[in-house]
Symmetry: C2
Subunit: 942 residues, 2 copies
């Protein structure tokens, strides 16, 4: 068994193996190997780091022998000697794992200095000030990092020295002062740690390497990895880079700088960055001197500038990616100290993708793969200006992205009033209900203190593309007092807040936001995505406006048009309630007859907006009680009304609190408040109150009758359609008459009827009987021949299990993965996201929230098997998804993998879905044979 | 293409093919072929009937030719001639499908009579009275059945004739009267139908055959088939039996009778039945003369008696089943007219099964297969005396079988008080809650007006084996007025009602009930079942008493011990509420620490009761809010208390209604009612009220916090155990300490810990960490080595899908098919059974209620795949079921088929499960090769 090799010179390392030599090491190795000017050095592998931890924090046997051999080679290469009295070799010792964790681990510079070397160095550089300054930096850095001394003690020495000398800045310190400081620093170490600062450079090197290894498990690094969900699979241990020091502070022909190969703010194809003459890297960071823009170098050091321009092309040619690099110029010579992929904002990513294809640096596929869907999302919504420094006053769940500011209002009527009056408002409620919908239209954003990401507020806001934060539980909302309380802060109606639906943050006052950008660059990229992707991208849209927006965003159809949303509009809800509260079949039919023409008009408009593209209309899904007021509010109302009556009878005036429990519409039906307050109402007024009580008690009774223990699993969808066929029949008539009229008017309407909550083919057969019946009638009435598809949601588990039989009676399936996920896990989304799901994700019991990212191993398996068995019995079956996962990139990739025909998502996510669908194809093409065959590879389920 | 043969002589028909020749035809054919004295005849097949309907109600071509040929043969055989003037042949024409539908279809007797034949017959029999009586019966029967005349018209003629002659009974009519009646009857037909009564016997025969065919689709028959769910697969069309008439009314050497080969009431091995001398079959039915017990025949006609005794043995030897047969004695000659399997009560079935094995008529397997589990169920509960003629006043869902009478009480405290005082009470509530449990213990039965078969009341009652009717929605319950209202009927506290939990019926007053019978016969049968079955049968039991009862019933272990039921006991609920309402971790721990010793004691007692048999203990499952009062009751309380305070301040006395809203315990904490009523309370009393308000508001707040939109899918089971590990840890400690102490005390305790609601192996790993931790501690504290199993409920769909991974971290699976069915269908059981499920079953959308009979094609498929993939990764895996389906016979058969190790059901169903498990083995052995290979054969799913 040979000893594992742990150390590689930059020229000999495998520069593609970041896992072994870390990101920084890989960059240095690559640059060395392609001939860029890199100060010589070597890298100790992450493997050594893992062995260090595996053997109770001991350096691997033989590691220091390897290190010594590599230092010898460095000495040969540079003509310098570690600890040498003539030309001493100084090195830097830097950490560097597979993933960049900026500032999280430790670096030691100027290693190799000691009391003797500093003298030699002063002579060799002919610059004693510089030498002692370097020594001072080493003692402090090494003392803190490798030995564990307190930073404070060093700072005190330095401040004392400056005071003594009367200096303001470090660089004003004299050689003598610096020499003194070095002595005092060493005393600090001795006093604090009862150990001498090690004079032996080899000892220094060994301790520095160990310190870097140790920092991998330092609190900062561990916290960082947890925060950014960096698993051991992604990065396991740090490498150590030992590199010859170069100095940018050796005079005016020296400098240090940082640059991007393109502008990371705009993506423009120019060298971008800044530098400081006669300075070390840490001076740039310290911010004492203002760095100069890199373009100035063209004048100051034209040859170096030319060299940098060449470096820029060389790097991009190598990496096919914008690079972020560090350099130092020592006495007129350029040295490259680091390179890595540049972090850019979304705009820049999009622009550089497009440019680099034009420049033939990237293929279209590569250009698409480097854009993350998150980037696109940034560009599609207003967001908090990244440069604003506001602190959130509360946090909720990010339910619908985008940022908005406005005056707080606590009820939908007020939101509508103020919104119509041109004011910008944020609707703030404990939770919202269908009857609040008119307030949504006029609000800039919605904030709730209860409910999860699938709560009414969240779903409606997402559908409308309005910013929304839900479940911000720290906020206590007192509707009646028109007050929101956060800890000891009170926010009244009319005060301005800002919400960020992308992060869940809530800010007091107006925080600057920036506009969304849907640039030509993005359009170009999305057009390339459309060329590549195989999945269709449809949108979920319930209104003609939504449909038009979806079409603009590139949707190829409406994958889900929810008819219940049409029921909630202010002009319809009363009819819907009449229908539910009807005491006789005739009353019910009368209400239904009023709804039909309204629904027909809706459908015609949507067909028009989507002309030539399919519109999938889902028949009514929610349980009827969703259209009624809540039990609790009714109870309060009835009790208040009764108390009011009792008090009037007792001859007592009524307190305002009794009235405030009532719905505004109810309050209006009461006698005038002044009359009540003065207890002056007559017998007629009392009768009004008695009537009101009776009416509300009727509603209360119906609410009790229709109440359900588990509404998610209740009397809804096709179950409702089968037990109240007149309801579905009305909807089918409205759809097919709209289709017939559109046809007659020359509109190319493409229609699909979809049935929700199906568990058994017989349910579909019954609905299809209604469809056949209505179709015959409509074809006869209009003298047309109708053409449309009939399909089903697959959102109950049993529908997946019975997919083979269900496929025989349908033209298409559409996975409703919101409900399917709830049923597969037995997790009620609203309850789970409020209660245990965050804990589950935080503690790794589930890798992700399955309501955001499709649960491949559970829900995904059911889907895959449903697709296979459905197509098994009906090869023509079209299969899509219209749950929220249809807009989630990795879930889209899964949908592509199991062969769906399309995804449908909210209009605002259509561009993201277009990109993700193309990336799915590209990643599939890039899969290796091993990955294809590996049962554990993502998506290779079943 | 030859013409299908439609007619078979009794001696030539295939007597095993009931589908073709009907049950009656098969019996006649079999008896003929084994040499019993059957009047000669033939049978027209059901095939002919189907052709009749397939060709728009025309008799098949050639049918009457075949019939004519067979009549010719009959003439040869009997020496009589159809329509003959010398010895006329008379025949009966009777219906008879594959399944018996008593009284549902038509029969015509004495066919062949006409104006000439009656004269010949009078001469041939030397009995003109008899001849004209026979003719009269033909004209009426034929007129009504074959021609469609009204019965009323014939009755009027008969009554007029009797009046004219001064006769009271038919048999007092003279020959002349009868001759007159025949004439008048024919006039009735002519007048009503404008057609003559056909004189041609061949015409009569054709019309009679058609009439029998027609009666298959008659209203009565169609309704009957719908009511008893007789599908075309079970019986499709009726056969027609044409048979030579014999007459029991030809003198004192003639008789007619009905007999069973054994006593159908007791099962005793004696000939049982009755007969009438000188009478026709219909006279027995008419009930004018009282028949004599058959034993009397031994004296009256000893030779016939001997012959009948022989017939009895011959028939049982043929059919291996008790036979119910009809016979006629014509002038000293015995004729057999029908035989079929005897319908008996449950006791008789059990006794005859045992006897017939002893007599070697049946094998043990045959004896077990003929007992239906329904029979067993009858024997295990008190039931309404079948001879009682009470009419239900309301109907609900049959939730827990058994019948009980008692005084109505409307709250649990009152039930407890009266029950303890020795009164028999029925607890009647809108719905019950965990805090009502003490009322259950003292009640004879429970009746609720809301909730489904899985509601709290239903589940608890079943567990206790108490009769329970739930969801009787016609009953309006007014708790506070202590009144139940059904339509215009008012039932007050103390009135007696009777409920039948096996049918859902509710009766006013006391209806007689009969005792359950668990006889030696049944014990013997069940012992045979135990020899045969492969499935283990465990019981669900939560208390030591339940466990003891389960053991008595033959349970081989406790498959489900629900720990939450222990939380609900009156002495514990307050501690549990303290735990939930705790404001600090210390308060919570204090409550938990109080629960531990109580739970430990429970477990020890159960281990003791089940010594040597496994006890599977499920950790806490329900969401915490189930242990708190309901939001609605709290709201009412708080509002009432506030009103009370306001009124006191206003100086008004308080109405009783305010106090009645309060829980009894709350009412007790208030100042004395008299003081309140007189408005005399002092400041201290007011403070008491204020304090109460504050306390209840705190509870209200917690109820709001823990409230869930869909509790079925909520924060419960392992999710609770993971987020509140102190709770599960307490339970695990209590279990393992009980185990350790039992071991030390020499009790052979066999323990299994089961985790509910699992969806992902990591959940189990976390619980198992707690188990490991506790085990180490307990083993150390007690100095013992513990041995127990660790397993999981499989009740979430995802657990089925991930069974392979879950099996790696568990010793056993137990299917919770109640929850699994809810999740698979997305049906909330309580909502579904109240709302749409009855409609679904009635309209054939689902074949059965999937909460009663396991849904093979949905839930069953998931189960089968979970068993396979679970055993795939862990071949030692033990798999059982503890949902209610574990006590349902056909579901048990499915469990056997997919290879489960055991079923677990309520103690009262253990005998049924033992029988069903044995029947599953027997039916499996009896399956044909075709059935095994047929993918559509029941249970051949996947």
């Amino acid at each position: 068994m040979g000893v594992t090799r742990h150390v590689y010179a930059f020229e000999a390392a495998d520069s593609s193996d970041k896992q072994l030599i870390g990101g920084k090491g890989a960059g240095l190795a690559r640059m060395t190997q392609i001939g860029l000017p890199v100060p010589p050095g070597f890298v100790i592998t992450t493997e050594a780091c893992r062995e260090y931890y595996a053997s109770e924090r001991r350096l691997p046997d033989g590691l220091m022998d390897e290190v010594r051999a590599h230092i010898r080679k460095l000495e040969t290469k540079t003509g310098k000697v570690l600890g040498g009295r003539e030309v001493p070799l100084l090195v830097s010792v830097r950490s560097g794992g597979a993933l960049s964790m900026p500032g999280m681990m430790d670096t030691i510079l100027n290693l190799g200095m000691n009391d003797a070397v500093v003298v030699a160095f002063a002579e060799a550089t002919n610059n004693p000030r510089f030498a002692y300054d370097a020594y001072r930096r080493l003692i402090q850095g090494f003392g803190e990092i490798a030995m564990g001394a307190e930073e404070r003690s060093f700072v005190e020495v330095l401040e004392a020295a400056k005071k003594k000398q009367g200096a303001t800045f470090d660089h004003q310190l004299t050689v003598d002062s610096l020499e003194e400081i070095c002595k005092d620093y060493k005393q600090v170490i001795l006093k604090e740690l009862s150990t001498e600062f090690p004079q032996d450079p080899w000892k220094q090197l060994e301790m520095a390497i160990e310190a870097v290894f140790r920092s991998w498990m330092g609190k900062r690094a561990v916290d960082y990895r947890r925060e950014f969900k960096i698993t051991p699979q992604m990065a396991n241990g740090t490498a150590v880079n030992v590199q010859t020091m170069v100095f940018g502070n050796m005079g005016d022909d020296s400098a240090t700088g940082v640059a991007f190969t393109r502008d990371p703010g705009t993506g423009e194809n120019v060298l971008f960055g800044e530098y400081l003459t006669n300075a070390q890297g840490e001076d740039v960071v310290a911010g004492i001197r203002t760095p100069k823009p890199i373009a100035q170098l063209e004048k100051e050091m034209p040859e170096i500038w030319q060299e940098l321009v060449k470096v820029r092309h060389t790097l991009e040619g190598q990496y096919h990616e914008v690079q972020d690099f560090e350099f130092t110029i020592e006495r007129g010579v350029l040295y490259m100290l680091q390179t890595r992929n540049g972090k850019m904002n979304a705009t820049a990513f999009v622009r550089t993708s497009r440019d680099m294809v034009a420049e033939q640096v990237l293929s279209k596929g590569e250009a698409l793969l480097r854009i993350s869907p998150d980037h696109l999302e940034q560009l599609l919504h207003r967001r908090i200006d990244p440069s604003a420094k506001a602190e959130p006053i509360a946090r909720g769940l990010p339910a619908s992205p985008g940022a908005a500011s406005g005056q707080v209002v606590f009820d939908a009527d007020e939101a509508e009033r103020r919104g119509r009056a041109g004011e910008e408002v944020i609707l703030v409620r404990e939770e919202t209900k269908p009857e609040d919908i008119h307030g949504f239209f006029q609000a800039r954003g919605i904030l709730t203190s209860r409910g999860g990401k699938t709560s009414h507020a969240a779903v409606v806001a997402r559908g409308m593309g309005k910013p929304c934060v839900v479940g911000a539980e720290e906020i206590q909302i007192k509707d009646r007092e028109k007050l929101a309380v956060i800890k000891d802060q009170r926010i009244s109606e009319g005060q301005v807040i800002t919400i960020d639906g992308g992060t869940g943050a809530v800010y007091l006052g107006e925080v600057p936001t920036v506009d969304p950008e849907f640039s030509e660059d993005m359009k170009t990229l999305l057009a390339w995505a459309d060329e590549i992707r195989r999945l269709g991208v449809h949108a979920n849209a319930d209104t003609p406006e939504d449909a038009a927006r979806a079409r603009e965003m590139g949707a190829q159809g409406i994958g889900l048009c929810r008819t219940e949303r049409m029921f909630n509009a202010a002009d319809r809800l009363p009819i819907v309630r009449d229908m539910i509260l009807a005491q006789t079949a005739e009353e019910r039919q009368a209400a239904i007859d009023k709804l039909r023409p309204v629904q027909k008009a809706d459908f015609k408009e949507i067909f028009m907006a989507m002309e030539g593209l399919p519109v999938t209309i889902r028949l009514l899904d929610p349980p009827l009680h969703e259209f009624l007021p809540s039990l609790e509010s009714l109870l309060l109302e009835v009790t208040s009304l009764k108390s009011l009556r009792d008090r009037l009878e007792d001859g007592k005036p009524n307190p305002d609190s009794l009235l405030s429990a009532l719905e505004p519409s109810l309050r209006e039906s009461l006698p005038p408040v002044e009359k009540l307050a003065a207890n002056l109402p007559g017998a007629k007024d009392k009768r009004v109150i008695d009537d009101l009580i009776e009416k509300r008690e009727l509603v209360l009774q119906k609410v009790r009758e229709t109440a359900e223990v588990n509404p998610m699993l209740g009397h809804r969808g096709v179950r409702l359609g089968i037990t109240y066929p007149e309801l579905y029949k009305m909807q089918i008539s409205a759809i097919l008459e709209a289709l017939a009229e559109s046809q007659q008017e020359g509109v190319d309407a493409v229609c699909e009827i979809m049935v929700p909550q199906v568990t058994e083919p017989k349910e579909l057969e019954r609905v299809n009987e209604l469809v056949r019946e209505v179709r015959e009638q409509v074809e006869q009435d209009y003298g047309v021949s109708l053409n449309f598809k009939f399909g089903t949601m697959i959102e109950a588990v049993r529908a997946c299990v019975r997919a083979n039989a269900i496929a025989l009676v349908t033209d298409f399936f559409s996975f409703g993965t919101n409900d399917l996920t709830q049923a597969t896990f037995s997790f009620s989304r609203e309850d789970a996201e409020q209660k245990f799901l965050p804990f589950y994700v935080e503690h790794g019991i589930l890798p992700e929230n399955p309501f955001e990212a499709l649960d491949i191993h559970g829900v995904g398996r059911l889907m895959k098997s449903a697709v296979q068995s459905g197509r098994g019995s009906n090869p023509e079956l079209k299969v899509g998804i219209c749950g929220e996962h249809g807009g989630h990139p990795r879930s889209i990739e899964f949908c592509h993998t199991i062969g769906l025909n399309y995804v449908s998502c909210s209009a605002f996510r259509v561009p993201i879905a277009r990109l993700a669908a193309a990336q799915a194809v590209l990643r599939e093409q890039n899969r290796s044979k091993e990955q294809i065959e590996d049962p554990d590879y993502p998506f290779n389920v079943l």
